[in-house]
Symmetry: C2
Subunit: 259 residues, 2 copies
């Protein structure tokens, strides 16, 4: 069975989507097969991987609310080893529909468990979560083995971190005892900026081994790549953003291979 | 009756909170009295205005779900002419509670309409919305005269704009016929960056008069100020961020005084 990782942080604009898609591609470049589940009604991960809105026939709305199974929702996006379950804005009404079902928080978990992974090989599933702790995010956390938290190295994003950690603990205590922290990755880091360095110091002091050594620098190329529907590895493979996401992938793999 | 403006964009991290609080203070410096309603469970606007979590006794959760009225929720935060209705993380469960009520989307509107503004003078109410189009944001839009949209000058944020405009139109057609666009303000703008300039050109070509002339530049001081609980006007009054938010306030006032 693949390792399922939710990429989440209720603070907005911290680099969840950018981390999900670039880490996914970095893992494929290390020979892994990866499924990306776009769980944000904005559909940013689907756009950033180059799938136009009109090409999203089966979506994560159908997966959650309809009777679509995981592998009939996955599509290829022209990147070797990568599959995408795309999202459209319909997903924003999934919350309300799920509330009326008896199974509100385990729907995604069941769809993943229903797959025969001997037939359909996958090493990783990455779930790009929306910026809130709503039923979509809860479904993702309940379905996951671990949580990866992108943290923008600024003050307001740092404030929400303890709330997020409490919510993850609550999910672990109530619905998913296996859920643990994959790690915290600092994003949009600017080493010339005092605030960035201060946040890094704070987080490393308090959370020690949870924080990856790899840090994602602020880089315009990372914000340009989505407008071409390309990962950083296609758009600008020798940029500092590409090296940083490759380093993050290697660090994550080294933690898993050891365990 | 004050002019009620929702500051909203379902895209995360685009500068909603930064715009709400700094515009609010800029308006007070022009002699206006302003109420800020923190409608985001992260409570970032409350933090950025210097109100510690343990000082938030009556909150917007009590306003929406309990029987607190608007002026008993407002507190002073040491800024002349400014009142704040603070938020805590409790607000994240307001969605679920509102769903069980008969009145789901008009609760805030009724709390505002219940106030005797002859007794309690206010020129503006600014509502800082969370990064989603959930029941909290819908309550804010239904209660508002207009919508102010901070737009980060990048590709992924631009993508969500048409969706937001559709949602505003839907609210206008169903629940609040008076709702109109206050305007779109470009944030975190970096004129050295091609992408910023391209987004500006796109938006001005397509949306013409909706886009303010005033543009908020990317400025580290704006991201540092919240860690001191201060607006940019207290933290760094001669910074480019302070001048930009003053210019935005003057532009908004000139549009209102004329009408
Ligand atoms: N390291 C980086 N350097 C520069 N820009 C970045 C970086 N990471 C992300 N960005 C840009 O910052 C913006 C926010 O990033 P992104 O959309 O990935 O965040 P998010 O957490 O997924 O947002 P949301 O909360 O809306 O889902 C985007 O325009 C993105 O292109
Ligand atoms: N013009 C600016 N220059 C530099 N940094 C900025 C600017 N505006 C906002 N920031 C910083 O960018 C981050 C995101 O801004 P902010 O929190 O105001 O966005 P938001 O839209 O309210 O986010 P959310 O979607 O989580 O509510 C914060 O760390 C903030 O301090
Ligand atoms: Mg995202
Ligand atoms: Mg905010």
């Amino acid at each position: 069975k693949p390792r399922v990782i939710s990429v989440t942080n209720q603070k907005g604009g911290v680099g969840k989507t950018t981390t999900t898609i670039n880490l996914a591609v970095a893992l494929t470049l290390q020979g892994k097969s990866v499924g990306v589940i776009d769980f944000d009604p904005q559909g940013n991960a689907s756009t950033a991987l180059g799938l136009e809105a009109q090409e999203r026939l089966k979506t994560t709305y159908d997966l959650l609310v309809g009777d679509s199974d995981l592998f009939s929702t996955f599509v290829k996006v022209g990147i070797e080893g990568l599959l995408l379950a795309p999202a459209t804005v319909d997903l924003s009404s999934a919350d309300l529909v799920l509330l009326k079902k008896s199974e509100q928080v385990t729907v995604l978990k069941e769809k993943i468990n229903a797959v025969d992974f001997n037939q359909n090989k996958l090493d990783y599933i990455l779930i790009d979560c929306p910026p809130s702790l709503n039923l979509l995010t809860i479904n993702a956390l309940v379905a996951s083995d671990s949580v990866l938290v992108p943290l923008q190295a600024e003050f307001l994003p740092l404030e929400g971190l303890s709330q997020l950690m409490l919510s993850v603990k609550e999910i672990r205590d109530t619905a998913n005892p296996a859920l643990r922290f994959e790690g915290i990755v600092l994003t949009m880091f600017d080493k010339r900026n005092n605030l960035s360095r201060q946040v890094e110091e704070d987080v490393r002091d308090n959370l020690k081994g949870l924080v990856y050594q790899s840090v994602i620098p602020r880089s315009v190329k990372l914000s340009e790549a989505p407008s071409y529907g390309k990962s950083i590895f296609d758009y600008s493979p020798r940029s500092k953003g590409a090296f940083a996401y490759k380093a993050l992938a290697l660090e994550i793999l080294s933690r898993h291979e050891v365990n």
